[in-house]
Structures are given as structure tokens and as C-alpha cells.
Symmetry: C2
Subunit: 193 residues, 2 copies
DNA sequence: TTACTCATGTAAGTAGTTACATGATTCC
DNA sequence: GGAATCATGTAACTACTTACATGAGTAA
């Protein structure tokens, strides 16, 4: 259910087309909630119909057109409601951990390979997220700048701080995954000898 | 796609009915991969049809019957293939982190409440998982005992070690979530003053 | 006979995945 | 004229959720 809220959150920074939204999902809010293009367009339609968004057709070149979406008052209210509402947690489901619990059935080399990839994956994520935090702190993120632009200056610090905070959670997660994978590699070494 | 593998993994310990499987999902493998009863029964049917499982109708009392499922050679092969295959990762999607990134739109008291609940949730999980590890180490888990029973003794330690390892990952995760939430509570305190 | 456990399902809906499909615009 | 970008969709499928539904067995 978070896709609608991610969309609302992005559009409060600036009205944009579905195409632009797709790009932003790949490069900003998508670090926390990815969505394929094929899911975004239909969702924009239903949110428009529900009154959370309004849209306006604008010319594009000579013959073509584009539809620009903006958040309505109802959409803003829904965003405020969502941020203040109690969290709902997805069911506990972790395919990687599940598999690890049954590594005795695997080829040890294959298990080792998986754990190396796991650590590598989160090392890459760690870097990406660290860069992201630096960019947010330095206000180098275009969408964030636009967001701050129509916010009173005394709220800027809190706005930035919460974005940083979210990514700190991702970083903490990444670190714990890397440590876990390394512990697993050590276990495999021990079992080999 | 892990549900089928979770089912195979449980059934290699001991053949059982759908009903029993549902119980085991709530109390053992379900810590890593939960599934509702309404999903398990249909999945058993399709896995039976695919030849990963075989089933046998057994009498239960005077008139009633029950269907007991067991893993076929094809099922065991599929399990081995899965454990050795490269990991496939779900898309990055974290509704809690997404919301935290937009806490500037929330009521501060509500955000505080959410972070307290987040920490509490993972503190409870931490306890459960810690107990689980203790039970596994002491071989107090009935299903694990059955699994070890038809395994040569020299493989017992590795089998137990991998289960412990999986839960250590969950514990590491829980710790990092608790620390993150506490960091958030501190941030909110700072913003209030 | 009542309550609880054992046992097995279905149905309708939501969310997300993978793949396909089309056409105008802009820049070289 | 061709390639990359801008722009918008649809279709089929899989996984999961929530809710409903039924009946026999067992123990007090």
C-alpha cells in the first residue's frame, strides 16, 4: 500500500508527468520503494479518479501532449494521515535467511559463493546509501531543493534530518548483513577443516 | 517463490498433513517464512501434481480421512538445486523507512510513538529469536530432532550450526532496527528543543 | 452436549512481475 | 535519416491477503 504514498510524497515536491515519476523512482525515492513503470501509470489513474491527485494535459512540441500530475488537498491530507498512523509491518518473510537455515543441503562451495555475493551486494548498497546521505546533507538533491523551496526555512533542518535518518537505517541494515555473511563464511571455513 | 521450498524443507524432516504443516509454519520455519493456511493447501495440491510431493490418504478415526504428504526424489532434487542456486533478492521496498523519510509531515508525537513501537517490536523478536537459538543448540526442537534422526551423526553439527546461523542473522537485524529507532527518538527530542 | 482440536478447503481481491506495444520529439 | 529520449499504456501471470465455510473426532 506504500506505492500511493511514495507517489504522493514525490509529487508534493513538484508536479510532474508519469514519465518523470518513473525516473524519480529509479533515482531517489526508489532507494526505499521501487516500482516498475507498468505499475505507476495505472496507479496514477486510480489516484486521479479517487481525488488524491489532479492532472492537467499540457502540449508537448507541435502535436504531442503530456499529462502533468499534482497533489490535491485530499492527497496532502492522506499523506499527513499516513505519516502519523501506526506502522503496519509486512509478514516475516526472508528467503535468504530461510535458505541459509538449510545450507546443510547445499554444496558448500555454492553456499560460500552466495554469502560472498550477499556481502558484496550490501557493500555496494552501503556505498550508494552513504553517497545519498552526503548528497542530502549537502542539499545536492534537486527534488529535495524544490521541496525545501516552498517550505519555511525553520523547517528545513528537520526535513533534511528525517531523510538522512531513513538512509541511516538502510546503512545499519547493510552493515548487519555484511557482518552476518562474513560470520557465515567463517562457519563454512570451520566446517571444511 | 520460497513457500514451496519452505514446505519441502519441513517435509524432509517428517511426512505430515496439511494441517500439521500449518502448525509448523506458525511455530518453526514460520519465523523465517510465514504463510497463511489458505495458501498452504492449494500449494500442496500443485506440488503434488508437479511431482515434488506424493500424498497418501490415511484413515482418521471411524469415518474421517486425512492426507499425508511426503517429499519425492524430484522434491529432494529441487531442494538441493534451490540451496545451491544463486540468491534472488526481492525488490528494495521498506514502507517503514519510506515513512520515516517523510516524518516532517507527521505529528511529532505520532512519529515518536511509531519509533517506540518499532523498537519494542524488535525487542520482542530479539527475545523470541534468542530463545529459538537456545532451543536449536540444545536440540530441544522436535522437528530438528526428527531431521537429525535420519542423518549420519557427523552431519549433525553442521545442520544445527546453519539453523543457528540463520537466526543470528535475524538477531543482527533486530539489533540494528532497535538502534535505528532509538536514534530516531533522539532526533525527535533534539527537534523538540 | 458442548467445546475444542483436527482437517480441508474456496472465493474475491490487491500488489507486484515480466513482457509486449506504440508513437512523437529531439538531437546529431 | 536514424538513434536516443520522452511519453503512455496493456496483458497475462504469480504471490499473498482476508474472509468465509464445513465437518468429523475427542475429551470433559
Amino acid at each position: 500500500m506504500s506505492l500511493r504514498h511514495a507517489i504522493l510524497a514525490v509529487l508534493t515536491a513538484e508536479p510532474m508527468t508519469g514519465y518523470d515519476l518513473v525516473q524519480h523512482f529509479d533515482e531517489s525515492v526508489g532507494f526505499l520503494w521501487t516500482a516498475p513503470q507498468s505499475q505507476i501509470y495505472p496507479t496514477l489513474h486510480t489516484m486521479d479518479a479517487e481525488g488524491l491527485l489532479r492532472s492537467e494535459v499540457q502540449p508537448r512540441g507541435a502535436r504531442a501532449k503530456k499529462r502533468v500530475y499534482d497533489v490535491t488537498a485530499a492527497g496532502r491530507a492522506e499523506l499527513a494521515r499516513w505519516t502519523s498512523e501506526r506502522n503496519s509491518y509486512p509478514a516475516d518473510r526472508d528467503g535468504i535467511r530461510l535458505k541459509a537455515a538449510f545450507y546443510e543441503l547445499a554444496d558448500l562451495d555454492a553456499a560460500e559463493q552466495q554469502l560472498r555475493e550477499h556481502a558484496d551486494r550490501y557493500r555496494r548498497r552501503l556505498e550508494q546509501w552513504q553517497e545519498r546521505i552526503d548528497a542530502i546533507r549537502a542539499r545536492r538533491v534537486p527534488l529535495l531543493r524544490k521541496r525545501l523551496h516552498h517550505l519555511s526555512p525553520d523547517r528545513h533542518d528537520a526535513t533534511v534530518a528525517f531523510k538522512v535518518f531513513a538512509f541511516e537505517g538502510q546503512i545499519a541494515r547493510a552493515r548487519s548483513e555484511i557482518e552476518w555473511a562474513e560470520r557465515g563464511l567463517e562457519l563454512i571455513r570451520r566446517l571444511r577443516s
